[in-house]
Subunit: 139 residues, 3 copies
């Protein structure tokens, strides 16, 4: 069994942002030389997500609006977490809706995906350096 | 390390439907002859889910009603994704609540499950052919 | 490829509770002697979650309040699942928001985590014995 590890770093310009990282994950799989296995892609920070869905700008807009409805940023005083001096409680909630991680299959050295699957990094408290971990195991 | 891959195909009669696929996943594990390992079960389409919960008709009704409350289908004009000509933006949102994938343990050749765990395919934009991927690695 | 399996048991004093199980997962990894691999941590019951986020009391309070808003416990008659004699339909919904499982990377024998990542058991229908499964594969 082989294994491979890689980090991706992000520093978004806005608080919330969605970034398509599919090509970077495939690149890590290429580097690993693993042909058959599983690949974990996870946010290493607790106010961000890795998830799989469509790369369509309208949908990304809808996600942002919807998450803001389910877990509004303001007023920040509605969250006890923000009593610590933070203002990002909503980001910890939004991340639970979208998930921390995806586990993807590798077949013949490729992401084993349906036609529209794309891997996204979802940032909910950005404007600082944050990381995604890729860990691959297989043959 | 051995690996095994299988697809399951679905074509639901209604837009939204929950299908228990536990037996089909165990069948794939049997075919793999893997005794100890991990099994990924994921929707290959981005408006459907694989998730684990109870096979109880009342609960399936509750999920459907609850998801419709959190991410209503209509009016379709409320979602920018639907400006593309689609009417399934809500399905992309519902799938995020229920999740894309499950990773399950295999022990002694069996799904290593608690007493009520059942694997479901959750369809939120059906009435057409769609797939689930099963990928198994282990010994 | 090596593999290791362990169960953790819980019996909470209250219906809903969040328990940090990070040290117990690292202990299982130590017992496995696996240095590089993947570790599945999942609730074996369908009204509980394993998830990763911050161990901050204010945030745990916020999660509890937020989940109760998205999927209220009462009135129990609003859920058809409760017609079976149960009163825990809301727990099955809350668990979908927080997720069933986490898959974590093991690197050099350690949980490969960002600075604030902590693994939690989220109980939504407690006051009885329930289990978490840890399954580890790797070298």
């Amino acid at each position: 069994m082989k294994n491979y590890r890689k980090e991706l770093w992000f520093h978004t310009k806005t608080r919330r942002e969605f970034i398509n990282i599919t090509d970077q994950v495939q690149q890590a799989i290429n580097e690993s030389t693993i042909q058959e296995g599983l690949c974990l892609v996870c946010a290493m920070h607790i106010s961000a997500s890795c998830y799989i869905n469509d790369d369509e700008p309208g949908l990304l807009h809808d996600y942002d609006k919807w998450l803001e409805k389910l877990a509004p940023h303001a007023p920040i005083g509605q969250y006890r977490h923000n009593d610590t001096g933070e203002d990002n409680a909503d980001a910890h909630l939004k991340r639970q809706i979208m998930g921390r991680e995806v586990v993807v299959a590798i077949t013949k050295g490729q992401l084993d995906f349906g036609p529209w699957e794309q891997i996204f990094y979802g940032e909910f408290d950005g404007m600082r350096k944050k990381r995604v971990l890729i860990k691959i195991i297989g043959n």
